[in-house]
Amino acid sequence: MNGQAKEFPFQKSLLRNYHAPRWDEPLVFELNAPGHRGVVLARETDEDLETLSDAPEKLVQRSSRPNLPEIGQAQVLRHYLRLSQETLGAVFNVDIGQGTCTTKYSPKVNDKFAESSLSAKLHPLQDVSTAQGTLEIMHSLQDYMREISGMDAVSLQASSGSTAIYGAVKAVQAFHEHNGEGKERDEIITTLFSHPSNAATAKTAGYKVITLYPNENGYPDLDALKSVISERTAALFITNPEDTGIFNPDITSFVDAVHEVGGLCFYDQANANGVLGITRAREAGFDMCHFNLHKTFSTPRASGGPAAGALCVTEDLKPFLPGRQVVQTSDDRFDWSVPDETATADIRPFYGVIPNLVRAYAWIRALGPDGLRQVAETAVLNSNYLHAELSKIDGLTVPYAEGEYRIEQVRYSWQSLAEETGISTGELGQRMADYAFHYWTSHHPYVVPEPMTLEPTESYSKRELDEYLTSLRHTVDEVRNDIEIVKTAPHRSSIHAIDVEATTDPETWATSWRAYRRKYLGEVREEPRRWIAPEGLPMRERAAKAHHR
């Protein structure tokens, strides 16, 4: 052995010959077989009935049976197994193509801690004296988040990143109301390439949203900000680096300008992968920031289920934080804080998604301060490698600040390939599914034409990055040599191309079995009872109710 890696002739190709299973599985409601049971319980005895007669459950018993399908246990298991086989399987897959959604590996050992009965079976109402260990974990996690952000106080109550941002908006509202400016300050400023939840949560809370558009460098001019700040500015909600991966170097001037007119500044760090352990929201002058624990701290993506977010604020904003924090008592034990009178209402019931908080804690402990910084450095290195390799592909450009590297992700443009061949970025993405890869374009509107956003994080090996690159290069070759195979893709995925137009038309949506029966099986739906205004009462005319559900 001379120390050189040996090249094995039988090494598999970087291009996967992938094929997904296709089950043509019915809806679970269509599997309804009257009389079938998952579990057969023993018949109740007279004694049981006697015992249950005044049980509290009686009070909440439904008057009629729920309209659920009747299916055997094995059929249910097979049904969900098949559905799971028809997915690309995030978390276990190579999720480079999930740019801005930031999907990274969730170490399995952390599930052990999360599944421990000490955290998983904790009841929110049990006495704190019996949950000291979990509270200590949360207390430490609060400390770590304070250190990582530079802030003074942390709320771990949010069950998703966007919930944490909503908590921040509500804290902004509470702050200005406390200062007697709640009504006057009715505008929140954000940028086009910031996390869309910034604009969405601000609107949900009733704010007017002003969006700044990027200049030729990819971030807004300071003058654009200065033209919209005023005594009506409640806050700036901004992401940096933005979804393009470009870092706004004027960020402290942005913060100063907003502070000068009395507004607050929120740093969206849903994804802090590019700056973890390198920069902190506090040093840039921000009043608040948040982290999506699944984007940065490795907890699993919830995909609609409970995730977790950490909301961090300065001392001035602490009285307005939602939820309770864990505090250390004088006898070195842990307890829940009593919220201030000025505190924002809870943003979810109880204390937060404990299993995810445990996972994030374990991840931070395993890495330590140097490890956290290394996460960012590796994420940036991986992104730069993809950037350098992809720049060699004819037909791909990297709009804004040409020739400069980005931070942890890059928004590329296939416009020139589209003009040459008539392919669209969406069609490229559908072909990438044939190679078992996700592919993400961008949020709407597409300011970068024919966009593609890739974010490799720190999780993937060089071979995996090369597999992604190989599939993408191969797809571009196919576009030039056999465009039909790309335009009619996916061929080897579990589903064919979906009708995108239909997904934007609510009339075609059936988000429940009831809606499906009405819209697709022709069942006549009884109009639900509704309040009818007394005659003569002036009423605003309302649009007909949408029957999505």
Partner: protein
């Protein structure tokens, strides 16, 4: 796109080529409208390339659609030549007069062919040219009050209109995608710039109307409107705009479909392309000249609602001449309301938008960062620049 094309009824396409389209561009004339310019272009050595573009589209269509389409076209260099070059069988309609030389083809020939295709009930009219040709097509169909679907194959110098494919090949892909889906259509702008002004280094667009274009996921050049996503926002834009307008002021409503959505929330009829006046929640006059606008709004606070026109984001100036200096001098900076969907703003690259007014004072008043209404409770801060500073 898993539909088998063989199962669909055959597509009938009418093709008309404006052979002089793009003639001026290759020799730096920034347009090809008018025979003087066309002669000048040829004298400078310009060669027509419209036929080549048309042939490219047809060749690609043949690959994508196989024999699933019938082609009707105009004689000689107005389409017949392109079909021959692409080896596509075409039925030559004799409605259009046969141009004997390049310069003897006229706008009337294009319009005659379009009218003929329309009368025959073709599924789609493909035309090759630029904004000038688009205007001819629009005029011909407008005369017949026809909503025939059209698609432009880009060959002109200027393509401000939102009815052109992004390339000749892309046009074929759009036709195929449209044919294989449900053949729905949507509106695209017919806009054109003032060529004379452009040659003097000034940008000025005018909105001439709307044509129906194939609705597919493929983007066209410039602004397409009416897609499902922007439709949801247009209502919000209109409501937001109405809430900001002072009912006691005289409010001038500019051209275009986004402003039209604002008009629809007011009482009374409005015009799509003219400048209308609203007062106290009612549209009190439509499609007025600058003299009429000055008369009717005399002594009242003046407000102005506009939407950017064309592929360059032109707001006002030479394009809408009804807004003369006298009127504009009465509009305060905060009384100018710009409405635009996010989608269109994105197509304009997020700005800047342009104005063209001669008076320095007015340039200063209306340029710089300005709020654009993009939805309910939603604005964008976009830079407005002087069109005279644009490098031509």
């Amino acid at each position: 796109m898993s539909v088998s094309l063989q199962s669909l009824p055959k597509l009938t396409i009418g093709l008309v080529v404006n052979p002089v389209a793009g003639l001026g561009g290759s020799v730096g004339l920034k347009g090809s409208d008018g025979q003087v310019i066309q002669r000048e272009a040829i004298a400078r050595g310009a060669t027509p390339h419209a036929t080549r573009q048309a042939a490219r589209t047809l060749t690609k269509l043949r690959t994508l659609l196989d024999d699933r389409f019938d082609l009707l076209t105009a004689p000689a260099m107005m389409g017949e030549d392109a079909a021959r070059e692409a080896h596509v069988h075409a039925e030559v309609v004799q409605a259009a007069s046969e141009p004997t030389t390049l310069l003897s083809s006229t706008a009337k020939d294009t319009q005659d062919a379009v009218r003929f295709f329309d009368a025959l009930g073709v599924d789609l009219i493909l035309f090759v040219g630029g904004d000038g040709t688009a205007r001819d097509v629009h005029e011909a169909l407008a005369q017949q009050a026809s909503d025939r679907t059209v698609l432009g194959i880009p060959a002109g110098v200027k393509m401000q209109s939102g009815i052109f494919a992004r390339s000749s090949q892309d046009a074929a892909v759009i036709v195929r995608d449209w044919y294989a889906s449900s053949m729905q259509k949507e509106l695209g702008e017919v806009a054109d710039i003032d060529e004379e002004a452009r040659r003097n280094g000034v940008l000025a667009s005018n909105l001439y109307g709307y044509l129906h274009v194939p609705r597919t996921r493929r983007p066209l050049q410039g602004g397409k409107i009416g897609s499902a996503t922007s439709a949801q926002f247009i209502e919000g834009i209109a409501m937001e705009c109405i809430s900001q307008i002072d009912p006691d002021a005289m409010c001038l409503l500019g051209p275009g479909s986004t402003v039209q959505a604002v008009s629809e929330l007011l009482h009374g009829d409005s015009s799509l392309l003219g400048i209308d006046v609203a007062h106290q929640g009612e549209i009190i006059a439509v499609d007025l000249s600058s003299r009429q606008l000055n008369e009717i709004t005399q002594g009242k606070r003046l407000q102005l609602v506009l939407s950017p026109v064309g592929g360059q984001g032109f707001l006002f100036g030479r394009g809408n001449q009804q807004l003369d200096s006298e009127l504009l001098s009465r509009v305060e900076r905060e009384d100018l309301f710009i409405v635009c969907t996010e989608e269109k703003l994105a197509q304009l690259g997020g700005g800047p938008l342009y104005i063209d007014v001669p008076e320095l004072e007015m340039v200063e008043r209306f340029t710089g960062y300005k709020k654009v209404i993009t939805g309910g409770h939603q604005t964008a801060s976009i830079r407005v620049d002087d069109a005279k500073n644009v490098s031509a």
